[in-house]
């Protein structure tokens, strides 16, 4: 299961997608909109994707994870559009015979997703300010507020 969607993410669907009789471990990661990043308050995030490219990248990442780690199943879903505080923006699940590989693969997949996949977020503040997040452009490289 590799999806980019506007509707809320159903985590049960991801766990079902990675269910496998040969897997003794399933790891589920979710990222959600965070209200506070330091002293900056976020009311919601708006996500945009270059969908055709992002889907291809996510499929390639899933395949790469299966080559890199002894895992059997990967599911990744990312939302686009407006995501309110507390709602999920991204979820991924990994199914593996043993837990160590599932944890490691999930962490690796999220790092790769955040580094390369053609998806962008815009932060919305309660005061109505809107700011696209382009990490390497920000003066403070730590600025990547409001989410995982």
């Amino acid at each position: 299961m590799i999806r980019i969607q506007t509707q809320p993410i159903d985590v049960d669907a991801l766990l079902t997608a990675v269910a496998d009789d040969d897997c003794g471990a399933s790891v589920l990661f979710t990222g959600q909109t965070r209200r506070w990043t330091g002293e900056t308050e976020t009311s919601s995030l708006f996500y945009e994707a270059f969908e055709k490219m992002a889907i291809a990248q996510l499929e390639e990442l899933a395949a790469a994870a299966k080559r890199r780690f002894p895992i059997k199943q990967v599911a990744i879903v990312h939302r686009v559009g407006e995501v309110e505080v507390g709602e999920l923006s991204v979820a991924l699940a990994v199914g593996s015979p043993h837990r160590d590989a599932a944890f490691a693969a999930a962490a690796w997949l999220m790092d790769e997703l955040k580094r390369d996949v053609a998806i962008w977020k815009r932060e919305h503040s309660p005061a109505g300010d809107r700011q696209w997040v382009h990490p390497q452009l920000d003066a403070d490289a730590a600025i990547d507020g409001g989410s995982s």
Binding site: M53, K114, A118, I119, W132, H134, S147, S148
Partner: protein, 106 residues
Amino acid sequence: MSQRSITRMRKPPAASIAEQPNASQIVRVQIFAGAAEAIDRTEIEVSLAMPTSGAAILRAIGQQHPELNSIAVRSRIAVDQRFVSGDDRLDGPLASVAMIPPVSGG
């Protein structure tokens, strides 16, 4: 001289243009997020000397659309939905070109 040969002299076929060193090509480039917001458009045109490269496309975007220069220097180019490295030689018609600013998914 036939009408056909006159036409050929005045306007070479597109394929031969691509084969000539330094021939220029107008390429449409998709843009996203902060870059698109900066100019209130999701697509721009750039004139490129062919063959070109990812780095040359970004330089051309910055030169021909100065309002995008600051983000272009930090962006990457994708052709047919795949990143190209800065010095990859790109030739022939470029159908799907996108400027990918630093991403922030997740």
